[in-house]
Amino acid sequence: MSLNKPEISRGIDGLLLWLYILLCCIGIVSIFAATYREGDDIVKTFLSFKTDYSKQSIFFLISIVAGTAVLLTDSKFFTATANLWYAFGILLLLLVFPFHSNVKGTKSIIKFGNALQLQPIQLCIVFANLALAKYLSRVETDFTKTRSQLVAAAIVIAPAILAIAQSETGLALVYFSFFLVMFREGLPAIILIIGFSFAILVVATLLVDPDILALILTGIAGLAIYIMRRQIKRYKSVLFGILGIWIVCVGIQRFAVPFIFDHVLEPYQVKRIYDTLGKDYIPKDAAAAADIAKNTETKKDDGDYNVKQSKIAIGSGGLTGKGLLKGTQTRYSFVPEQRTDFIFCTIGEGFGFVGSMIFLSIYIALLFRIVTIAERQRSTFSRCYAYGVASVLFFHIAINLCMTMGLAPVIGIPLPFVSYGGLSLVTFSMMIFILLRLDKDRQMVLR
């Protein structure tokens, strides 16, 4: 750390900053490649503020300015106001219910005039992250206690429930990524394993015939009893434990999942999940069929079609790609939503496997860098916050990429820093800049 550097840049993690700027630039170029029309004057359109890439550049500049402001604040400001921000976020989320505007397919957007849109659920990710870090870093919090774990879980799940109420299932799932932070702070690994196993069980329920799955589960239970027969001899409770797990598993696959699919989720969402898994969903009644028809027609983003075109776009890129502005799939709008959720198609088609690998390595470098930064913090608050940033980014990246390649259902999650969208860019930028500010004072212990 050279003392000659100006105050603002002293102690700032250069690598993280440059990775961030690089990703934002890739984003602008990708949006440019996806939306540029033959014959447009590039300079003119960039300055016109009317094209998407022009708007994205403006939002990038706004993010930089706002980020600089964040860097100029005191790091204690965040610890001091974390809960306040969280309360503000929840308030915004509640305000959405009476004031949300009529945007198709979602009830989570508040419109100010024609130009400005606000989706509080996106902003709230930052606030939840701060609040969680604040709670975990409290001196009086003993995270080994179940009560503390439940409070921490409540902090992150509360906005998620509100999000589901606003028909934003995809963004609600993002909040579950905070469990990684809690895992780092001592949440028993078994909870993660159970969560993961549960996910596998649900997927298996959808893929495998119920009777066969029940047989498999019974087989696994029997195998476990055989392997653990010594322990069972000594402690009868182990046997009951295994049997209990078996009953729960069969119960889930037999009753819980069908119940959720039939009564909790909307038929079109069920269809999307089935589409992703490559199975045909047969609507159980006319109302369900009508709901599917309505949602696929009005939203005009039939998940199946999107994914198919997206796979064609990425697949046709080959090893080295077709080159910038040469991709036929992305240039001629075969992929819907390609400047937002399906922006990775542009990169995959234009730059091929090589380009995609470079792009992915930038992301993985960013994530690993954030983890490294997190581990060098003296204060728990900063560390938790940093892990929160890493988890949220990781979840977005993984789900979005899987989505475009047909590995995950299309749930409308943007690719951080790259997807078109002013609010999402500003939100992610703020997360990074707050992290940079906290990292600047990594030697301090913040409470």
């Binding site: 776009a313 581990e375 390649m405």
Partner: protein, 730 residues
């Protein structure tokens, strides 16, 4: 406390890394190990547009273009651009109503989708096109698209040139998907035969389209595009002025004229009557005229020159004489004493002449067309002592016929040629149960019995005689512009068939002399042209047809064959005029005029009135009207049966209505009074049903031919005979 969990950062890093690894593997599978996506992206975005070249042009022997290309306009519509169109004005221009307008738009959307143009009204007339062009700005979404069609400046040669039309699925399948829906190909005549030459080479343009199929521009800077190559022109032997004259002479007659240059086998003229104007079958008038012509029982669309089967009659005699001379069964001085008929076989074969000595030798027999003489020499040919039996003799005779090009396809450059018929022994064996001799088919000697030839075969036989033994397969095309060795299409026409050169010159001279006498002093004196030695033979073949269940005799077919000049043959002609009477009355003067026109390039002024006389003569056989009536009423009945729509059948019913008995009508009125709800149309169809008893066995008729016969029977029920009797009296 936090230090306690420090190891967990490794777990988190591992989770990150594993997830990214899965993504990378998936990416590799998509981008590196599956190639279907590339093809899918290509077919998604690249539109291969076919560029059609101009078709080749066909020239006559004097380098006049017999047919040409011109441009006509289609009105096309792109449904999605149709906004604020002055619909009522457009409808009034096209004289359609708004319901029809909507209908056509919907059809266009179904056919080609919303974003691509489809034909709204095809082949606009010049007047309509001019009106639309002026007002096209009022109709956004509508454009005028040019489409090349053929025109025929000489209004001649419809049958030989053929026409072009859209491909059907059968053609596409046969071409192994070379042609695509909407392509135009030659559907008949030379257009079909020389399709590969005339069509040229299609070009391909690659265009980028977007997700709504809108064209965005060229793909890859036109790197993969190929340009269209225009079709090559054909240079033919056709003499278009001769063709025009021949068609004029053939007007309102059923029959055919074929004129060949014997030296080259080049066809100078080919006419099939009834004559049609090729311009009727192009452009916007095609639809209307084609239907009319196709339903005409005189079959104006059939090319009788290659598909019309005629008994050659007396025109066979030179050929029969040649065969007998070559086999040595007679010599040129051989004669018979004919007293007006041939009695050698029990059944009497009448002869036109009975003065003694009219068949004293070959020359006289030919000039006087003596039936006795040629019946006799036919029997001598077949009962040749050199052969073991009659059948062997007959087979030898048949080989001669085949050498003349009869009984087999000649292989001329038109599609769908018929082989004619020279039956072989198996057919006679079958018909006569092996019990037959030279008397059984003795009329073969005078060109009747089961012998049938096409006019082109007849003209070809004349070429053989004129050339003293050799011929070239008759053909139209002399050469193709820019011909390359790869063009094998003309090869068969350049082979000299020395089929009968083994016959001695003396034999040919004897036949030539006899044929010249036909014109000088025989049956065809009318064909004589001063200064030109014409060798010819008239023919008159008896015709019968079955009409209303009766076999009736029709007027004879008038046949005529000739070549001229005798010393250096330049033209060989075969003329057949159906049901016109003697060969010398109609066919001979037609041939004579053609020879005069061809050899002297003009027609003497005293003969010009002959041209007008023949051209204005209407020799359409009377029985055709009757047949037309039967066909039309049968079709009307069939349609009525199919649709229960009486509008077509009504006019045929009028003539019968007088005969319908009263009580039947009363019955229907009583029943309709009971059922007041029955609407008018149903009543009508009920009445008609009562008038036309549907045969019980109607459904049991399997194939369509039998069914047609059944309809014929039905049709007779409501046709009065007066109509036909009037025609027959003419």
């Amino acid at each position: 406390m936090p230090v306690f969990n420090q190891s967990r950062q490794t777990v988190i890093r591992l989770i990150f890394a594993t997830t990214f690894l899965i993504i990378v593997v998936r990416l590799a599978v998509l981008q590196l190990f599956s190639d279907k996506y590339d093809a899918q992206a290509f077919s998604n975005a690249v539109y291969k547009k076919t560029i059609y070249p101009g078709r080749g042009i066909i020239f006559d022997r004097n380098n006049k273009a017999i047919l040409n290309n011109t441009i006509i306009y289609d009105l096309t519509v792109t449904p999605y651009e149709v906004k604020q169109v002055d619909t009522s004005y457009l409808c009034s221009l096209l004289s359609i109503d708004t319901a029809e307008f909507k209908n056509r738009i919907i059809t266009a959307i179904i056919k080609n989708g919303r974003y691509r143009p489809s034909v709204f009204e095809g082949l606009l007339s010049l007047e309509l096109q001019a009106k639309l062009e002026e007002n096209i700005w009022r109709f956004p979404g509508f454009t005028l698209v040019e489409r090349p069609i053929r025109t025929y400046p000489f209004k001649a040669g419809a049958h030989l040139l053929g026409d072009i039309g859209e491909v059907d699925t059968a053609i596409i399948r046969r071409s192994k998907n070379f042609y695509q829906m909407g392509d135009y190909v030659g559907r008949s005549g030379m257009e079909q035969y020389y399709e590969s030459v005339l069509m040229g080479q299609r070009g391909v343009q690659h265009l980028i389209k977007d997700n709504k199929n809108r064209i965005q521009g060229p793909w890859e800077n036109e790197k993969y595009d190929t340009s269209a190559k225009a079709g090559r022109n054909l240079r033919t032997y056709i003499d278009i002025e001769l063709q025009q004259l021949a068609e004029k002479l053939m007007a309102n007659k059923v029959g055919s004229i074929v004129a060949i240059d014997p030296k080259t086998g080049g066809i100078l003229t080919m006419v099939s009557g009834p004559v049609i104007d090729p311009n009727d079958l192009t452009g916007n008038t095609r639809q209307k005229n084609y239907a009319k012509l196709a339903l005409d029982v005189s079959a104006p669309l059939m090319n009788r020159a290659t598909r019309g089967l005629y008994e050659p009659g007396s025109t066979f005699k030179p050929v029969g004489g040649l065969v007998a001379l070559d086999l040595g069964v007679i010599n040129a001085g051989y004669g018979v004493s004919c007293a007006g008929a041939y009695y050698g076989c029990g059944k009497v074969i009448k002869c036109e002449h009975h003065n003694p000595g009219h068949a004293a030798n070959m020359r006289l027999a030919l000039a006087n067309s003596c039936n006795s003489y040629f019946s006799q020499i036919y029997r001598m040919t077949v009962d040749n002592p050199k052969d073991h039996n009659t059948k062997a003799g007959y087979t030898r005779w048949k080989d001669y016929m085949n050498a003349f090009g009869w009984g087999e396809k000649l292989g001329i450059d038109l599609p769908n040629e018929l082989p004619g018929s020279i039956p072989d022994t198996t057919i006679y064996n079958k018909v006569y149960r092996n019990q037959w001799n030279s008397c059984t088919n003795v009329t073969l000697g005078i060109g009747q019995d089961k012998m049938q030839v096409t006019p082109v075969q007849l003209a070809n036989a004349m070429c053989v005689i004129a050339n003293k033994g050799y011929y070239y397969t008759p053909h139209f095309v002399e050469k193709i512009d820019n011909e390359t060795p790869a063009d094998s299409i003309l090869k068969p026409f350049r082979i000299k068939h020395e089929a009968l050169t083994h016959i001695s010159d003396e034999a040919y001279e004897a036949i030539h002399a006899g044929m010249q006498d036909v014109v000088e002093s025989g049956t065809a004196r009318i064909a004589k042209i001063p200064g030109i030695n014409i060798c010819a033979k008239t023919g008159t073949a008896e015709k019968y047809t079955v009409l209303d269940g009766h076999r009736i005799k029709l007027p004879n077919n008038s046949m005529f064959v000739c070549f001229a000049p005798r010393e250096d043959p330049k033209i060989a002609i075969a003329v057949a005029v159906e049901n016109a009477g003697f060969g010398s009355t109609w066919a001979a003067p037609i041939a004579s005029l053609l020879i005069e026109q061809y050899l002297t390039d003009s027609i003497r002024s005293e003969k010009k009135k002959d041209v007008e006389r023949i051209a204005s003569a209407n020799l359409m056989p009377a029985y055709l009207k009757r047949k037309q009536f039967i066909a039309d009423s049968t079709r009307a009945y069939y349609y009525f049966n199919l649709r229960k729509d009486s509008s077509y059948i009504k006019k045929y019913l009028k003539q019968r209505s007088a005969k319908v008995e009263k009580p039947k009508q009363d019955n229907t009125t009583v029943s309709s009074n009971k059922n007041t709800a029955v609407d008018n149309k149903q009543q009508q169809s009920a009445i008609i049903k009562q008038q036309i008893p549907v045969p019980v066995s109607y459904k049991s008729y399997g194939n369509s031919r039998n069914r047609n016969l059944c309809f014929y029977k039905e049709a007779f029920l409501f046709v009065d005979d007066k109509h036909f009797k009037k025609q027959a009296a003419i």
